[in-house]
Symmetry: C2
């Protein structure tokens, strides 16, 4: 039966394989929440499905349930009141291991077919998931739909495509025939079995509960591993819906649903015991350095794929499109209130200022102009709320206040609290812009998660590039950018990013933003600097999640 | 220029790519040391080249040289007297890093072309290398030629083929064009640069100084990393010749020879500082658990690919070719005096004995018959010396004495010291066979490196398979085998090896032996049990040795 699913989705798979090889634009999932793409009823149905979860127990029929969890807090101030099953991690691990041989037996063809079916089902529920993502993470609606729905599905599909490509290289069997001169050849039949490594744990983050979990989830699942999805304790609903869809598809196709489970441990000790469980062989994690390094240091039985903090950097050396550059930056710094792992934090400029198509601009002038550009961009409330969303965590809120109060350097633009007419209790803040010297590294050189950015004054353009390289090498980054009209400067920055191993965007002045990465084309993270030890997605992200066990006998 | 090398060797590369996908028999390097394959002059030239090294300083013209190293001891008792450059690891690292951008710039095509040329040059020097391997490791001549020469080259080529396959998926550039409805499409040009991770250190072992180093060496090199080859302090010559060939090929093609260096640190502190050096980003290691785990625990800045100790296991349940089975086992246990990481150590039988084509045999009878088969096989001195070689280390010698004296269980066959007429000071020992109960696990369940094997008495065939699985899961193994005439038993063992993740050989009674693995067809190690965290070679062995750094700009 699972093989029929591969046939059903073969064209999607083939297109995805072409896309990861050619890296042009492609997606099978419409990023437009339009009735044309999703059907006339989809918006209302999705909203109704979301609302049906509220104030209820989210039943998943998982083993070892000991109680319910209900700590979700909406950044929009909405009462969610959903209760999620708390299950004994050992019971989930035991059930997952029991399900594993059957998952191995259906082979790469069966597993990939099932994963593609799951992704299609998730896509159909994009509206429901979007509401869940928006209300838990604080994203604006359009981002919640796109990043929480089709873009997350793209990243999941991308991981499946990589997994398929690697697994498809392993033949089921081979005949090995070695000539022996005048004697008869040695002939053996060899069989190659793809086996998963063990239980995969995927730890979700509070800001991108699907986009940052689908790559690891689908990479682990496709390569033969059961998966326990452990969401952030305050951002559970998108994960719960995802797990329910997976379990439904598995059960419908005669497979054990316990291959995927929502894992909400009873307490911190239970969670840590799970992460260190000898049968847990992979952990995918997005979040803070502190906990990420704890996982890497203490969960040595598992391969840990970690996306951690970073300091994304832009060097602004010159531009021939000053206004467009400022607009582009204003959007980047405002989007989801800078609560993206890809948002730029350090904007490094030569102290002498920059040449532009509007004449030379001093360092101070660029700062004022960028502040003004942000204010203009956010001047219409409907735009501001759509773009900013709401602040996900108390920590971020506190950090914004600190920065606005001047604790991190000279304030060029202070954050403002906005009232969202649709969500009166939403906590909305506009970005903070701080100026400082390169030498004052205490604040700009560590991640200040949220809408806090620094205009950093470097001696000259060479030292600006050197500083950017140093920041990335020491503190990590998922994104880097340069604005320059001089090819030698762009070339120098390019070489700096090769050494520091960070993706570079050059002179973005239009509808592409440094904090956005497109599945199938852009690698998210290089895996080569402290911000992440893996990339979404590449061969290294999947190839070590399964092993090949061979057997051989004479024919 | 390097691209011309890719053209020159394209057919070899294409054949290797086909081989790793189809996994039939293939090799471009003749395993027969025949004049037909290597030329009439090759044997004499190779011997002369080897002898020319003796009693001399092995000049490599490397940076930071502070002295000479001369600790080699031949297991054959031959005076070697070669002196090798001792270089400051920091100077080697500095020089390697300086060489890296150029190595990146020639691209995957250039690097792979150079690697293929190096392998061809190494192949031409197979006789010289074979003498070096024989005299340092103690291997017999034929094994030294095959495993030290063409088979090692095969494994190196295999790693290059995997590296090429993964790198060739990364396009140099792509055009990304995203439709925007009625508005003009967003169009970007994207470039993808493959960058190495940093310096690779490859740590050689005393028994297979080329076979076990070439995979890591060529995997690291092909993917853009400079390599420091740190040989075992007593087994240096094969590594030194290898490094010289690599440096020659690099220099001939206008590349910095410091991309590859022989690294003989002045002392243990210098070596440990190297392994922990922040610029060392990969370590390939074959050897003891103690040092391997030290590397894994302390060299967290690097990806460590480790092949460690294991307990290779055979379950003997029944056979329809009793004599042939005994002959096959006798060869396996004798070859290179069991000093292979793939030699079987624990032979597990049901207490009640086994059914054979010569009637039922008790546990004791099988032990006696296997002992007799070993004795018969080694009764001709010329066969014995050719197969056994010499004992590489004092530790192994001591272990053999211990086992022969009954310290590890009931001795069925004691080791004998043989005199090698060609090498009067060679230390030659025949295998030890010990019998014990499954419960007496103290000795058989840890690696007893060398010609020491155990006949282990299990309750029945089910518990024999369960014991084999348990041994592999706890202590690791590179090989496992089963002898049985019953398909359900073979099936049960197959499933046990899937769970324990170890390669299985079934009913080997002819010219294939459990301790041999064929490049391009057999995966050496699964990477999924404690004996090794990686396999030679697969995608996971290469995919994380490079990263992709992209840049994008509007067209």
């Amino acid at each position: 039966m699972p093989h029929a699913l591969l046939d059903k989705h073969r064209q999607t798979l083939d297109s995805a394989l072409t896309a990861i090889r050619e890296r042009g634009y492609w997606s099978p999932y419409s990023e437009s929440p339009s009735p044309k793409a999703y059907g006339e009823a989809a918006p209302a149905d999705g909203r109704a499905a979301f609302e049906a979860h509220l104030g209820r127990s989210f039943e998943l029929d998982q083993p070892g349930q000991s109680g319910w969890h209900d700590g979700e807090i909406s950044p929009y101030g909405v009462e969610l009141g959903v209760r999620y099953p708390v299950c004994d991690p050992q019971a989930l691990v035991d059930a997952a291991l029991r399900a594993m041989p059957q998952w191995q037996a259906v082979g790469a063809e069966g597993r990939v077919g099932v994963c593609l079916e799951i992704l299609e089902r998730l896509n159909r529920r994009s509206f429901e998931i979007a509401h869940a993502v928006m209300m838990t993470s604080g994203q604006g609606w359009m981002m919640a739909f796109q990043a929480g729905g089709p873009h997350a599905q793209d990243r999941g599909l991308e991981a499946v495509a990589y997994a398929w490509r690697e697994m498809s290289f392993i033949p089921h069997e081979a005949t090995w025939e070695k000539p022996q001169g005048k004697h008869p050849a040695l002939v053996m039949r060899k069989n190659y079995e793809i086996v998963g490594r063990g239980v995969g744990v995927v730890i979700g983050c509070a800001t991108f509960p699907t986009w940052n979990t689908y790559p690891g989830l689908f990479a682990a699942l496709a390569t033969g591993n059961p998966v326990l999805l452990k969401p952030h304790s305050q951002v559970v609903l998108p994960a719960a819906i995802t797990v329910r869809v997976i379990r439904e598809v598995l059960a419908e196709h005669g497979l054990d649903p316990n291959l995927a489970a929502l894992c909400v441990p009873a307490d911190r000790e239970a969670a840590q015991a799970l992460f260190r469980h000898p049968e847990v062989r992979s952990i995918d994690y997005t979040g803070s350095n502190t906990f990420g390094h704890w996982l890497i240091d203490h969960c040595r039985q598992a391969q840990v794929y970690a996306e951690l903090a970073g300091v994304n950097t832009i060097v602004i050396e010159s531009t021939d499109a000053y206004r467009a550059m400022l607009r582009n930056l204003a959007f980047t710094l405002s989007l989801y209130s800078g609560q993206m792992c890809t948002t730029s934090q350090a904007l490094v400029l030569p102290a002498a200022g920059i040449d532009t198509d509007e004449g030379h601009k001093t360092f101070e002038q660029v700062g004022q102009d960028l502040a003004a550009a942000i204010e203009v961009f956010l001047s219409k409330p409907e735009v501001a709320h759509a773009v900013l969303g709401a602040i996900q965590s108390d920590d971020t809120l506190a950090r914004i206040e600190q920065a606005s109060a001047g604790a991190m350097g000279q304030v060029i633009l202070a954050a403002k609290a906005l009232d969202n007419p649709d969500f009166p209790r939403a906590r909305v803040r506009t970005p903070v812009l701080v100026a400082c010297d390169a030498a004052d590294a205490a604040h700009y050189s560590q991640e200040q998660f949220g809408p806090i950015s620094f205009m950093v004054r470097a001696t000259d353009s060479e030292s600006a590039i050197a500083l950017a390289e140093d920041i990335v090498r020491r503190h990590g980054a998922l994104t880097a950018a340069i604005y320059s009209t001089r090819e030698p400067v762009i070339e120098a920055m390019t070489q700096a990013t090769w050494r520091a191993q960070v993706a570079l965007s050059i002179n973005l002045t239009g509808g592409v933003f440094v904090n956005q990465s497109a599945a199938f084309s852009d690698f998210h993270g290089t895996g080569g600097n402290p911000a992440a030890n893996a990339s979404y997605a590449d061969s290294a992200f999947v190839a070590n999640r399964f092993r090949v066990v061979q057997r051989r006998r004479h024919v």
